[in-house]
Structure formats: C-alpha cells, structure tokens
C-alpha cells in the first residue's frame, strides 16, 4: 500500500483563521485510490482541513500538493448547513450543476447532458422528484441530490464534509454503496465523519485529528481505545493571548 503514488500531500501544513491555527503542522500523503476518513472531536480542525483542500482557505504556512490534479478533478460536498435550502431551485437544476466543468457559467444543457442528469438522479433513486424544489425534500433526500451532483462531476478526488449528517440508516447504506463504487473505480475519497462505527465498517484508513495528527494509518490501528481517549480529552485550544508558535518550521509564516 505504501508504494502507491500520492494523490494529495500535506507538507508541514498549518491552517487557521486570523493567525490562530486550527490545524498544526500536518505532513503526510493520501495515496491514489485511498478511502480515508477524517475523525476528531468538535473543533479538531476536520472541516478546516477539507476547506483548505478545496482551496477555500489559504494555508498559514506549509502547503498542499495535489500532484497535478486541477480544480476540475476535485469534487467537494459541502456541509448541508452551509447550503441555503430555502432557495427556489429544482432538484434537476441543482444536480445539473455537477456538469459545471462542461457547461460553465453560460453553456446550455444538450440532450446528452439531460440524459446524464437523469441517469444520476436514477442512481440515487430520485427520478420522480426531479421537478421538486430542493426546499421540499427531507434531509436524506437532499443528501442524495448532492451525491447525484458529485456523480456528474466525475472527479478523481472526492472530498466529503459530513456526508451522513441527519441522514437515516437506509440512505446511509445507499450512499455508502456509491462511495464504495467510487472506491472500486480507483478514485481518491476523503470524508469528514462523526460516526466511529461507520468509519470502522467502511473506511480502510483513518486520520485522527485534534488540531494536529494524533494518528494516521489503517483504521484498526488508528481507532484504538488509547487514541480515542486522547481525542476525547482534547478541547478547543483557542487562546486570545496565544504566543507566536515556535515550532521549528513555523517561522516561514508571512
């Protein structure tokens, strides 16, 4: 497994807001075709790390190396809470946005595109709801919509931020099916998750985060009672008067 080439590499990465770091000095590779779960308690920096991987957050220091993967090869599933579901947009239109890299800001949908959107809706069992407004959907149905959009993005790297939040067991099973399909197709998948049982069952690799890497490797080696206890004891270390970080390589901060 270690011989596989890396898809994403963290090179002494420090992320944060207003100079206060949320994630400290992360180094390591996510290899190509990995199915990696990021786990940690609230405020551990999981979503921050994902946001940086999407390019929404500039690192305070260090960098992320995508080994030549461009924007169109990275698909991102935002947290549902960051989406305005009261916006009057239909399920079909929302899913069709997964074709952004082909249609851009002003391109139209040709027949082939329409068929592909329909196929994606079919794959998540939402064909009958295509004309509905997204605001009329349940939490589980809406998460299926977002997965259909990911399907259309057809990306090599897929980043999921809490994909199973407020989703019932049956939907989780269906969505896991899609994730396993992507995994079998050799795509690289990184998911921020809360449910340890789901991680144990379906994710071969885990990164345990508590503002720094507590453990990173095969899931059974990472999710040990000792590590989980460490993760639980961590609490948000935000300090108004925090001193400048003196970690050796931190000095390059601009």
């Amino acid at each position: 497994m270690k011989t596989l080439s890396p898809a994403i590499s963290f090179e002494n990465l420090t992320l944060g807001y207003d100079r206060h770091p949320a994630v400290h000095h992360i180094s390591g590779d996510v290899h190509q075709g990995a199915l990696l779960a990021i786990v940690g308690s609230n405020g551990a920096g999981k979503s921050t790390l994902l946001k940086a991987m999407v390019g929404e957050l500039r690192p305070l220091s260090g960098r992320i190396n995508f080994h030549g993967h461009g924007k169109r090869e990275i698909a991102y599933l935002p947290q549902v809470v960051d989406i305005d579901r009261s916006f009057p947009i239909s399920v079909f239109d929302c899913v069709a946005m997964g074709l952004w890299h082909e249609i851009g800001a002003s391109g139209g949908l040709d027949l082939g595109c329409i068929e592909r959107v329909a196929a994606a809706l079919d794959a998540v069992h939402l064909t009958e709801l295509a004309g509905r407004a997204v605001g009329a959907l349940s939490g589980g149905q809406f998460q299926r919509v977002l997965f259909a959009r990911l399907l259309l993005q057809d990306a090599k790297i897929i980043l999921l931020d809490e994909p199973f939040r407020a989703v019932d067991a049956r939907t989780i099973t269906d969505l896991i099916g899609l994730i396993e399909r992507w995994h079998a197709e050799g795509r690289t998948i990184v998911a921020v998750l809360h449910d340890i049982d789901v991680v144990r069952r379906y994710f071969p690799e885990t990164l345990l985060l508590a503002r720094k890497v507590l453990a990173w490797g095969r899931t059974p080696d990472v999710l040990t009672p000792v590590n989980l206890e460490l993760s639980r004891r961590f609490h948000e270390g935000y300090d108004e008067q925090a001193a400048v970080c003196e970690h050796d390589e931190a000095r390059e901060t601009a």
């Binding site: 991102y76 960051d82 009057p88 929302c94």
Partner: protein, 288 residues
C-alpha cells in the same frame, strides 16, 4: 374609462417620458431585488439606497443640479457603504443587521443635513422623493443605459449568482466566479439605485427593487419565475402610480411604491405559497 388611462400619456410629453423612465426602471430593478431577497440582503439594499442621498448631495453641492455629478456621487457613496458593510461583517462583534441599520441612519442624517444646510427645501424633497414628472432626456438616457447594462450583466452572471446564493462553497470549489460575481452584483445594486433615484428619489428607489421581489416569492417557486412576476408587478405599479398621481395630483414616487405595497400586502394574504389566508381555510390533507 380608456380616456382616463390613455389621455394623460397621449396629451403630455412629460407623462410619456415619466412612463418610459419608470418602465425602464421596472424592467431592471426588480430582478436585482429578487437576488437581494434570495441572498437575504434586503437590509443591505436598504442601507445602500440611503447612502445614495449624501452622495448625491455632495455631487449637488459641488456641481449644482447636475445629473452626472449627483449620479456619480450617489454611486460612489453606495459602493462605499457596500464595502464598509463587507468589512464590518468580518468582525464578529456586531451583527450585520445592526451595523447596516447604523450605516443607513447615519447616511440619511448626513444627507438631510447637507441638503438642508446648503439647499432649499424644494431641493431636499426633489432628492428624497424624486420627480418622475421632471425626468428629462438626459435622465432618460441614463436610466435606459443602466437598465440595458444591468440586464445584460445579470444574464451573464445569472448561473454563478444563483449558485453563490444557494451553495457558495460548491461554486468556490468548481470555479473562480464567486468573488467577482458578488462584486459585480453589488455594483449592479448601486447602479440600479442610482437609476431609480432619478425618478423615484433616494428613499423610494429601494421600494421598486424590493417590494415586487418580495411579493413574487409568495406566488412562484423558481428564481426565473420570481423575476418575471416581479417585473410584471413593477410595470403595473408604475403605470397605476403615474395615473393616480396625475388624476389626483399626488406625488408620483410614493404613489408608485404604494401601488407595489398593495401587491405586497395582497400577496402576503392571498399568495399560494405561504399566504396568510390559506392557513385559515380548513382543507383536507392530500393522500401523498
């Protein structure tokens, strides 16, 4: 009856100009308003609208009753408030709505202060409430140009703008449109407020932008549908406002906005999506 509707426009050139001017505004301001409402930025629009006043007043003081100077001043001041609001939104001490309320009270006071110290009361009323009946060819040209530019621009940024409202993180993950779209949209808001203030005045310009947009949400469930309905409402309100103000000799700007307000109240009561009256009628539930 037909006479009552047509005669003012057939007979008087100033009424025809007023009609063209307000229809041009009705075509461009409501679509912008729809996105203000959908982005939950209505209060922002309000604050920017009020900021136009001191800006236009500065233009007036420097260059007299020059359309160009007043528009430019209004434009600059509107943008300044947008930028200031953006900066304040980052500090998390004061909520955005509080800071916006602060801005627009300040802007209004400053504007009224400046106009009353240096101008006559007639000037003040002119800037505050507009004078659609005194719209000249230059003003008409300005309004029409702004309408053209903003409709074309809106068509170009439509898809990114929808995504920026609906799912901004997704937009940022697939493209670099996010920040440019937001900035262009803010510029469009200010431009339309400037266009509106020629005819309706700084206080009323926000009205034709927001009221039809809010009303339309009670009837349709798509952004495109809201835009069309909002434009229709603004059209009808403009014509109705002009006619009422002509026949009863009441100020035009407020009458147009009141006509929009009638639609708003009616939609709130009878709108098929969340209108208050529907909740009062007991209806049996559907099968699925």
């Amino acid at each position: 009856m037909i006479d009552t509707l047509l005669e003012p426009f057939a007979e008087f050139a100033f009424m025809r100009r007023a009609l063209v001017g307000s229809l041009a505004i009705s075509m461009t301001a409501p679509p912008i308003g729809v996105f203000l409402v959908l982005r939950r930025m209505s209060l922002m629009g309000d604050a920017m609208g009020h900021a136009i006043l001191p800006g236009a007043a500065i233009g007036y003081l420097l260059a007299g009753l020059s359309l160009f100077a007043m528009s430019l001043g209004g434009f600059a001041a509107g943008l300044a408030v947008a930028v200031a609001a953006g900066l304040v939104a980052r500090s998390q001490i004061i909520r955005e709505d509080a800071s916006l309320a602060g801005f627009y009270l300040l802007a209004l006071a400053l504007g009224v202060f400046m106009v009353s110290v240096h101008g006559t009361n007639v000037d003040l009323l002119h800037v505050l409430f507009g004078s659609v009946l005194a719209v000249d060819d230059t003003a008409l040209l300005l309004v029409a140009s702004i309408a053209t530019v903003s409709l074309i621009t809106l068509a170009v940024i439509y898809r990114p703008l929808v995504l920026e409202c609906f799912d901004p993180h997704f937009l940022r993950s697939v493209s670099r449109w996010s920040s440019p779209t937001h900035l262009i949209f803010l510029v469009l808001v200010v431009l339309n407020l400037v266009a509106g203030f020629q005819a309706l005045g700084t206080l009323m310009a926000v009205g034709i932008m927001l009221l039809p947009a809010v009303s339309s949400r009670f009837w349709v469930n798509s952004a495109g549908g809201m835009i069309m309905l909002a434009v229709a409402v603004a059209f009808i309100s403009s014509v109705a406002g002009l006619l009422v103000s002509y026949h009863y000799s009441v100020p035009t700007g407020p009458t147009v906005i009141l006509a929009c307000g009638v639609f708003y109240l009616f939609s709130m009561l009878a709108g098929v999506r969340g209108g208050a009256l529907w909740g009062l009628i007991p209806r049996r539930h559907l099968e699925a």
